[in-house]
């Protein structure tokens, strides 16, 4: 494939975030907004306030990570006996039962991935802010990974939803969703929003700046 070796920004073009249509960058005053001629999305050369917004969401996620992991995810009652389970105690339960595979899935999806997303996004943000030129392709790949993998963290919320529906007063007792489930769901949603608000093109902007 032929490469023009220039970015849309350098050519005075804007690539639509939603439909990838390339259009001329219009001359606008501050209170005007350009829209994509093909799909009608608001046009921006780079996601507006990407760094500040992503930092805010990353910090919010970091705060939510604590109650999500420390508070009980489910509270089960069997014959008057109450037992609270956190995410980690669920993982340990499956390990004791011999279902190592499931223990691993829950550990990776609920504990490892959210923390990795927070760390990777912080790293990417810092690298962009320090105008790093270090391995931009690998950093973009890291971003793609965080973006794709994030939604799978929701799996524990769905396990709780199903368990709660099936185990109601009767057969084997009762299971209620614990307070951690709300914090955890918010954590997953916020890390997904954080990944969406980070603009990977910022990684590459540092390279062009010094080339000019």
């Amino acid at each position: 494939m032929k490469t023009a070796a220039l970015t849309a920004k350098q050519l005075g073009l804007v690539s639509c975030h939603d439909c990838h249509h390339l259009s001329q960058r219009p001359q606008l005053t501050d209170d005007q907004q350009a829209y994509c001629p093909r799909c009608g999305a608001a046009l921006h050369q780079r996601t507006p306030n990407s760094i500040a917004r992503t930092w805010a969401l990353v910090f919010a996620a970091l705060i939510l990570y604590v109650p999500a992991n420390l508070l009980p995810m489910t509270i089960s009652t069997t014959l008057g006996d109450q037992q609270s389970d956190t995410i980690l105690s669920g993982v340990i339960y499956f390990m004791h039962e011999g279902s190592l595979g499931i223990a691993l899935v829950i550990f990776v999806a609920s504990i490892f991935v959210p923390m990795m997303k927070i760390l990777i996004l912080s790293f990417l943000l810092l690298s962009v802010q320090f105008r790093s030129r270090w391995r931009p392709r690998d950093r973009t790949r890291l971003y793609r990974l965080t973006d794709v993998v994030g939604r799978w963290s929701m799996v524990d919320i769905y396990v709780v939803t199903i368990v709660v529906a099936l185990v109601k007063l009767g057969a084997i007792g009762n299971i209620d969703a614990g307070p951690a489930s709300g914090y955890f769901a918010a954590l997953v949603v916020i890390t997904m929003l954080a990944a969406e608000s980070f603009d990977p093109r910022l990684i590459w902007d540092a390279l062009e700046e010094r080339d000019d």
Partner: protein
């Protein structure tokens, strides 16, 4: 040749005509620029119709049953959502309802609204807007994650009681594969070009 900018590193490329199932990648960051898919609109529509039928089956029959001793507990797809709401977790309940039911449904209907007229060389009003929404909702429809959740929950409960899978569960499992297949045959680039042409 038309120009396209990589949406991950902003490098501008000339896009040659792609044949068969060729994939064009960014020369700098290796992100996929465009992936050509033959017969995209016809195939997507076929899978989409199958998806809508499976979805209505999944919503109208028993989902899962649980039997322990003489007691039988039966649930529908929406029971979990209702239970969470009753347990004082309205936010969580709405989130599950949105990500597993409403968003996937809206996505299917939206896509049908865009593609069915295109098949007959017409465009529906606001088709470009609807297709844009369809694309941006993509990460938020999480049926396949829900399916993984079902499997884990069943293993968790399987030791304590007998699980009786319902018709709805089968339809739901099939739906996951149909939707996954639909996403691999859908060619958004081609849809955008068609929408531009027909206007």
């Amino acid at each position: 040749m038309p120009l396209i900018a990589c949406h991950q590193c902003d490098l501008v490329h000339q896009l040659p005509p792609l044949s068969g199932r060729a994939t064009a990648r960014c020369t700098r960051c290796r992100a996929v620029l465009v992936r050509a898919k033959p017969n995209s609109i016809d195939r997507t529509l076929a899978l989409l119709l199958a998806g809508v039928i499976l979805f209505s089956v999944a919503c109208s029959f028993p989902f899962l049953g649980l039997r322990s001793g003489g007691v039988m507990q039966e649930t529908a797809l929406l029971t979990g959502v209702k239970t969470l709401y009753q347990q004082g977790m309205p936010g969580l309940s709405v989130l599950v309802l949105m990500t597993c039911i409403l968003i996937p449904l809206a996505q299917m209907l939206g896509l049908l609204y865009v593609l069915a007229p295109l098949k007959f060389d017409r465009t529906a009003p606001f088709a470009n807007r609807v297709f844009r929404w369809h694309r941006s909702l993509q990460p938020w429809g999480m049926m396949e994650v829900f399916m993984l959740g079902i499997l884990i929950a069943l293993i968790k409960l399987g030791e304590m009681a007998t699980i009786i899978p319902g018709i709805s569960l089968g339809a739901f499992a099939l739906l996951i594969f149909v939707l996954a297949a639909m996403l691999t045959v859908l060619d958004p680039h081609q849809v955008w070009l068609r929408l531009e042409e027909e206007r």
